[in-house]
């Protein structure tokens, strides 16, 4: 009984932090319409800033707290709103998502650059102090946390219900344009809410940092917990969000009770937000279709069969030449890019054509790699067959509850699924366990692709075939239907399209493609383990696919090669931070143009086509090498 009481206190404390984080998220989402995936990232950066002032420069705690929570955090929030978010209003969910995820990755890059990984003691407030209530020792830090959460709730309630600014905020939520007509400045309200949201993120980050050892990724992923709580309130209601946060905090805490035996399901605490999210998704009512959306941006022409065949042949010939020139070590690097490009093709179908979002693509890649390791012994094609067969049904299962709802929920669900998979699924002994599995390379028709050269050429052939296939799909009936559904779901419905089954088909296809690519990705690396397929790795994948050009096959190739190069050039420390920074910044700036670098290059090369009759902009290698220095220069 005493245990239960003690863990209830801990649960309420954890729930309070979640509530602070989640209410900030809800506030910015409702007033600006943009779901801020970087919310945890802001909290992370502010917790580090607090650490810098408080423990590195030895400022008094109240001063450091005041400066971070009431000066720097709101300034950062307002800056983000003014520079990045304001002109996103009315854009598609995909666009704003890419921008906030880019921001999240960028903030991580900044933090990693300033504070390279090291032990940074972050003691609690009044560490060691506390009081005993009903025989339970409650620390002063815990009491402060609960009080702060309570105060934040009260202040919020007062602000939204009793002040002019609050009324203006709620008016902007209801109808932005109408509010503007009545003398409210939506821009100012939006900026204010971002400033406030940012302060709350900072507060949550600082309060929870001692428990998370001031760790960049864990603090950043606080956003997953926050939105799981917010979904309880349908991302709108603050009281319900508070309730959701408390439930989540208490459940997490109760898992530590000895008689719950949570240890029988390893990874359960980490997966708890995901479980709660999915439970809520199942209960949410189906979305009402919105009519009167913006039309799509003008995109590149879809290449004909002849053109895509030409492009494919050129790529394979190019790959053969490259394989003869480069050393094995360098071939693995370029090969990594090619394998990632193959993964990105799955995003082209899903996001570029279908307008849907997945933040768990690397999880499906992991399943493909596992299938190849488990069923592809000796390079058996069975592994290759099993890879998509394993990934597809799981993909369908994950997407199904979210597909009834708006696009944002699919992003939330897939991100949460990625986190759950790395906590609960992949660490299972029958999957990857805590060890490394050997992933064989394909052996087909008596040909072994064990060597780096042959495997690289195989990758190029597979990419070409899939690229040609994806383009054929786009030109065909299914492609037309999927494009139509992206452009106007409402019109498709009235024509007789069952949106749920069509979206499900696209998502399942994409998961299958990612799984298939996983068999090659694993084969290239030779081995696979849980840490190769963390949810977080799906984010640079998505961002780089957008940078390359999410709507085209050549975009996937450019994006894949870029990501491969960056990943293999740097894996740790400051350089990795710079890579994050670059990826995030590029995604933030390019996020508005989904056609990406590849489209830009092909436009620039268009005049060349007339002069060089055999040349096609689908040809990938040359433009990439030309373009790299320019991008590098632009990124500073």
């Amino acid at each position: 009984m005493k245990d239960l009481l003690a863990f209830t206190v801990i649960g309420i404390v954890t729930g309070s932090v979640y509530a602070i984080a989640a209410s900030g998220l809800v506030l910015t989402y409702t007033t600006s319409g943009i779901f801020n995936f970087a919310h945890g990232g802001i909290g992370m950066l502010m917790a580090f800033t607090y650490w810098e002032f408080r423990f590195h420069h030895h400022w008094p705690a109240p001063l450091a707290l005041f400066v971070v929570v009431f000066v720097i955090a709101p300034a950062l929030g307002a800056l983000i709103e003014r520079v990045l978010m304001r002109n996103l209003h009315g854009r598609s969910t995909g666009t704003s998502l890419v921008v906030t995820i880019g921001l999240m990755v960028m903030l991580m890059g900044i933090a990693q650059g300033i504070w390279p990984p090291a032990a940074r003691p972050f003691p609690e407030f009044y560490s060691g102090h506390g009081v005993t209530i009903f025989g339970i020792f409650v620390t002063t830090h815990q009491i402060i946390t609960i009080i702060v959460a309570g105060l934040a709730a009260l202040i919020f309630w007062y602000l939204l219900n009793r002040t002019r600014t609050g009324v203006a905020m709620r008016a902007v939520v209801d109808d932005r344009n109408l509010a503007a007509l009545n003398g409210v400045s939506p821009a100012r309200v939006s900026m204010l809410s971002w400033a406030l949201g940012s302060s709350l993120a900072a507060l949550a980050g600082i309060l929870i940092a001692p428990a998370l050892n001031l760790e960049i990724l864990n603090l950043t992923l606080l956003v997953v917990v926050a939105y799981a709580a917010a979904v309880v309130g349908k991302l709108k209601s603050l009281p319900l969000t508070f309730a959701g946060a408390m439930i989540l905090g208490l459940l997490t805490s109760y898992l530590s009770l000895s008689w719950v035996h949570a240890e029988k399901i390893p990874g359960l605490p980490g997966a708890l937000p995901t479980i709660m999210l999915f439970a809520c998704l199942l209960l949410l009512p189906e979305e009402r279709l919105r009519v009167g959306r913006i039309t799509s941006e003008r995109g590149p022409r879809v290449p004909s069969l002849g053109e895509s065949l030409q492009g494919g042949i050129l790529l394979v010939v190019g790959a053969i030449v490259v394989s003869l020139v480069l050393s094995d070590a360098n071939l693995v690097r370029v090969g990594q890019g090619m394998a990632l490009a193959l993964v990105m093709l799955s995003l082209v179908v899903l996001m570029g054509y279908g307008g849907q979002i997945s933040l768990a693509q690397m999880t499906f890649v992991g399943m493909g790699a596992f299938a190849m390791a488990r069923f592809g012994l000796g390079g058996s094609p069975l592994g290759l067959l099993m890879a998509p067969l394993l990934a597809a049904p799981i993909g369908a299962l994950v997407a199904l509850p979210a597909l009834r709802l708006q696009g944002l929920y699919l992003a939330l669900a897939t991100m949460a699924f990625g986190v759950a998979a790395e906590n609960m699924l992949f660490p299972r002994a029958w999957l990857f366990g805590s060890s490394t599995r050997v992933v064989p390379r394909l052996h087909l028709f008596g040909v072994h692709f064990d060597g780096e050269k042959s495997f690289f050429v195989l990758l190029a052939i597979v990419f070409s075939l899939f690229g040609i296939g994806v383009l054929a799909l786009r030109r065909g009936r299914f492609g037309r239907l999927v494009s139509a559904m992206r452009d106007s779901p409402a019109a498709c419905t009235t024509l007789g399209v069952n949106l749920l089954t069509t979206r499900l088909a696209v998502f399942t296809l994409s998961a299958a493609m990612a799984g298939f690519a996983g068999a090659f990705y694993g084969g290239l690396r030779g081995s696979a383990q849980t840490n190769d397929f963390l949810m977080f790795q799906s984010l640079p994948l998505l961002l780089m696919a957008v940078i390359g050009g999410i709507t085209t096959v050549s975009g996937a190739l450019v994006g894949g090669l870029l990501l491969g190069l960056l990943q293999t050039q740097s894996s740790t420390g400051v350089l990795a931070g710079l890579v994050f920074l670059f990826t995030g910044a590029a995604a933030v700036s390019l996020g508005r143009n989904p056609h990406g670098v590849a489209f830009y290059i092909s436009q620039k090369l268009e005049p060349l086509k007339d002069k060089v009759p055999w040349f096609r902009p689908e040809e990938p290698d040359e433009p990439l090498t030309e373009e790299l220095p320019r991008i590098a220069a632009a990124a500073g």
Partner: protein
């Protein structure tokens, strides 16, 4: 018996009553008008009929069946098509592809025999008068032509009833006249047309019957001549002009 009927439907948004016990109907081979000032509830009425907006009360009857609980996509398959006031075209596809995709969708769920969809779509393109822009992407053509593309797309599903939401805005006078003729042709082929339109001349010219909606309630139903004479209509709506 009208093909499509809304029986006393009511819709409330928050505290605002957008539709109060509204009844409208459309008969085969006839053009029925639905007019009213801005914000009267015309588009909401269309959304209820096509299944995009669940009503708080009332029934929707199609071909003597109560379809109130039938989801929007199944209403499409029953033979109900519509256009949108704020255009909902497939911008990344060409005009021809917009029509083709609709024909393909119909072909998929109707499981009909393999027919020449291309020829069928070309006929519709010619009928509606989009030949010149058939191969252009819809996001690059003028608004008036986009609206015609929506109509052509709706026709490709071989509908028994079409709901047209301000189809002639964006057309010039000549185009409007040609559009009126087109509607009459479609009605002659047996299609039931429910027309929401601001161009009163066009409505008076082509409609057999007209429903007038004001502040969410039907204030008059009748022939164009009767509607012109109706005092309440003059006060609520026509008097504005």
């Amino acid at each position: 018996m009208p093909l499509l009927q809304a029986e006393e439907i009511s819709v409330t948004f928050g505290g605002h009553r957008a539709l109060v016990d509204v009844s409208v109907d459309a008969e085969e081979g006839r053009i029925t008008g639905l007019i009213g000032p801005n914000g009267a509830g015309k588009t909401t009425c269309f959304n209820v009929l096509s299944g995009l907006q669940p009503p708080q009360g009332g029934r929707v009857i199609f071909d003597s069946q109560d379809i109130s609980a039938v989801p929007a996509y199944k209403r499409g398959r029953l033979g109900m098509a519509r256009t949108f006031q704020r255009i909902e075209v497939f911008g990344s596809l060409t005009v021809f592809e917009n029509v083709l995709v609709a024909a393909e969708i119909r072909h998929r769920w109707s499981r009909g025999e393999e027919i020449d969809l291309d020829a069928e779509c070309n006929d519709i393109i010619d009928l509606v008068g989009l030949r010149k822009v058939a191969d252009q992407r819809v996001d690059s053509i003028p608004t008036g032509l986009s609206r015609l593309t929506e109509l052509a797309r709706a026709l490709a599903t071989k509908p028994r009833v079409i709901l047209l939401d301000e189809p002639s805005s964006g057309l010039d006078d000549d185009e409007s006249e040609a559009f009126g003729d087109l509607l009459l042709t479609l009605a002659k082929r047996g299609v039931a047309i429910l027309l929401v339109e601001h161009d009163i001349d066009l409505v008076m010219q082509v409609c057999d019957r007209i429903h007038v909606l004001d502040f969410g309630t039907i204030i008059a139903v009748g022939t164009p001549v009767e509607i012109r004479k109706d005092k309440r209509v003059q006060k609520a709506y026509l008097g504005e002009d």
